[in-house]
């Protein structure tokens, strides 16, 4: 099992007046899965993703990543897991405007301590795999939204992680660019990477094989995607 969450919750506010962004929740995600987490704004899906990606600590419960308990790990240890085992794709791309496309993609490898030659080779390979061969030295501001998201995907896979966490990856894109990005994510899953994708769009969620629906900080359903809506053309419409 890649991820095993046992009664994890995320609580904010004072102890006597708590607010649960995520109520105690248990779930398991096996390696190679393609999971969509769906819900309205404030349903707790982004909180869940932050916990699964070790960007935040649960207020209670246990979270095992590749069988290793992570809730008590020191920040340096969780940083190492994020660096080597998890790739993030954000709705707003989060590219650094002052760096070229290549340098942006190299960034996780910089923190991995890779040699300049190695990280350049791996970053170029990642960019080639997302179809951006001609854009190595372009600045992010000169790229379209779809291209910027492809750069972000290249950055997410540069360190060859086992888990890809995508937070509304098509949320800022037009339907054509969004379709391209979804196709890329599907292809990466087909190569064996586990994908957990957060979206509010049921059509996009239907591209996953498993859909977790959330409401008010709780999982309300967890099961296979509706085969009727899995077709790309229908999802896009």
């Amino acid at each position: 099992m890649l991820i095993s969450a046992q009664d994890i919750s995320r609580r904010y506010g004072a102890a006597d007046l708590p607010f649960f962004a995520l109520r105690p929740t248990s779930l398991e995600i096996e390696a190679g899965a393609f999971v969509a987490v769906v819900g309205a704004s404030g349903s707790g899906k982004s909180t869940l993703m932050a916990l699964l990606g070790l960007l935040d600590r649960p207020s209670s419960g246990r979270l095992l990543f590749e069988g290793r308990e992570t809730t008590a790990l020191r920040p340096d240890a969780t940083a190492r897991i994020r660096n080597r085992r998890i790739g993030f794709i954000f709705q707003q791309y989060h590219l650094l405007a002052r760096m070229t496309v290549l340098r942006n993609v190299e960034l996780p490898l910089v923190y991995a301590g890779e040699s300049p030659r190695n990280r350049r080779r791996r970053a170029e390979a990642a960019l080639e795999s997302v179809g951006l061969t001609a854009k190595f030295h372009a600045m992010p501001a000169n790229l379209s939204g779809g291209e910027q998201q492809r750069v972000a995907i290249a950055r997410a896979i540069a360190a060859d992680p086992v888990l890809l966490l995508a937070d509304e990856p098509t949320g800022a894109l037009d339907s054509t660019s969004g379709e391209g990005v979804l196709g890329l994510i599907e292809a990466l899953n087909a190569q064996g990477r586990t994908v957990v994708m957060v979206t509010h769009d049921s059509g996009v969620a239907a591209r996953a094989r498993r859909v977790i629906r959330m409401r008010d900080g709780e999982i309300v359903s967890d099961g296979p995607a509706d085969p009727e809506t899995r077709h790309p053309e229908r999802a896009a419409s």
Binding site: G53, L55, H94, R98, M99, Y111, A112, G113
Partner: protein, 409 residues
């Protein structure tokens, strides 16, 4: 993260907003430039003072006639010629004194063939040269017979020789001093400038007896034995204190001062120059404090800007943490940016400070010395301010939680 990568990231961040970077640098630039130029001026003055002490002689003391008060009227120092040749002889006899020489001098016009030059004519004896460790460059000094017989011979300084004879050899030539012909028998080795920019080589020495009878002393109808000052050397520089006490005691006794104040002053080269050194140090300290405050303001402005940077770049910090940066990597990056800012400011400040020091040398004629260790200290100080003032913003950046930082707007 490799150090070079951190440095590259810091450079990119600083270049991204050049105007802000430049404005932030200004405080440090001004501070370091002040530190460097003040230290250069201070070091230059210090070096010149020690050179002059060395040149004048660390064991030399000068006795000048002091200010006196008669019938309620005060005279200025040196107005009264209270010192005599006999005083000089008595001083020479003291156990702590190696040699003593009386001198009388005046500024007069000296003529050599078709050239003339206004210079200092100093009536003294050969012991004067020994006390000041001043040697003859060519020719010879006065003989004892010439000193006693008030012979019309002269030993001239290098500057006077140049103005009176140009490239010609002055030895054996005649100079007319107040219409009296004197034969040049020697030329002194160049001695250089004294403190205050006085050229020590612009001088003509004649036997003191000749000066007293034929030149300066001729006007003094009251006392032919009166001299302008007495130069003496202690047996060693360690004996200076005793020598000064002995001379003071002797002259008070000889001048029958009783309970009255001294009618002379005893000055050592180091005491005269120490006063100068003290005032130089005070000015350097004052300006140094201004420079330090300037650096402090520069450091605070760096901290302020770095705090703004941390706030502005919170999403970037979130991203870096998400993709694997450790909190200490984030802290190091911001600390490096602050240090790079202040070190860069320090570098520009060193250049500007050195240029300012050179301008001061040219325009005001002050001695200036830019020492490598001074430059290194200024740069180190600037970098230390960068680390000191960059620490807090860097620490704040490292405390950010990835999830909160990513959500920041």
């Amino acid at each position: 993260m490799r150090p070079w990568d951190a440095l590259h990231a810091a450079a990119l961040a600083l270049v991204e907003n050049p105007v802000r970077t430049l404005l932030t640098l200004l405080g440090v630039i001004i501070g370091v430039a002040c530190v460097v130029s003040m230290a250069a001026i201070g070091a230059g003055a210090q070096q010149r003072i020690s050179e002059e002490i060395g040149a004048f002689g660390a064991n030399v003391l000068v006795v000048n006639p002091g200010a006196t008060r008669k019938d309620g009227v005060s005279s200025a120092t040196g107005d009264q010629k209270s010192l005599t040749l006999a005083d000089a002889e008595a001083i020479a006899g003291l156990a702590t004194i190696a040699a003593a020489a009386a001198s009388d001098f005046g500024k007069v016009q000296v003529v050599a063939k078709n050239r003339n030059w206004s210079t200092t004519v100093n009536g003294t004896n050969v012991r004067h040269f020994a006390i000041r460790q001043w040697t003859i460059g060519s020719g010879r000094a006065f003989s004892p017979e010439e000193e006693v017989s008030a012979a019309k011979v002269a030993v001239i300084g290098a500057t006077a020789a140049e103005h009176l004879f140009g490239a010609d050899d002055p030895i054996g030539q005649v100079v007319r001093i107040l219409n009296t012909p004197f034969t040049v028998i020697g030329v002194m080795k160049p001695k250089g400038m004294a403190f205050g920019g006085q050229d020590q080589d612009d001088v003509v020495f004649v036997p003191i007896a000749a000066a007293a009878v034929r030149l300066i002393g001729g006007a003094n109808t009251v006392n032919h034995d009166a001299v302008a000052y007495i130069l003496a050397s202690a047996r060693s520089s360690d004996w200076m204190g005793y020598a000064v006490d002995d001379v003071t005691r002797l002259l008070r006794q000889r001048h029958d001062r009783g309970t009255r104040d001294d009618d002379f002053t005893v000055t050592t080269a180091s005491s005269a120059l120490a006063a100068q050194e003290s005032s130089t140090r005070t000015v350097a300290l004052l300006l140094g404090s201004v420079a330090l405050f300037s650096l402090l303001v520069g450091g605070i402005s760096i901290m302020n800007i770095m705090l703004v940077c941390v706030t502005e770049r919170t999403p970037e910090i979130g991203l870096r943490l998400a993709i694997g940066a450790r909190p200490r990597d984030v802290a190091f990056q911001f600390l490096l940016e602050a240090t790079a800012l202040s070190a860069l400011g320090g570098l520009v400040g060193v250049i500007l400070g050195s240029v300012a020091a050179v301008i001061v040398t040219r325009v005001l004629g002050w001695p200036v010395l830019v020492r490598p260790e001074m430059v290194a200290a200024a740069l180190g100080l600037a970098a230390a301010f960068g680390v000191g003032f960059g620490w807090y913003p860097a620490w704040r950046a490292s405390l950010l939680q990835p999830v909160d930082a990513l959500r920041a707007r």
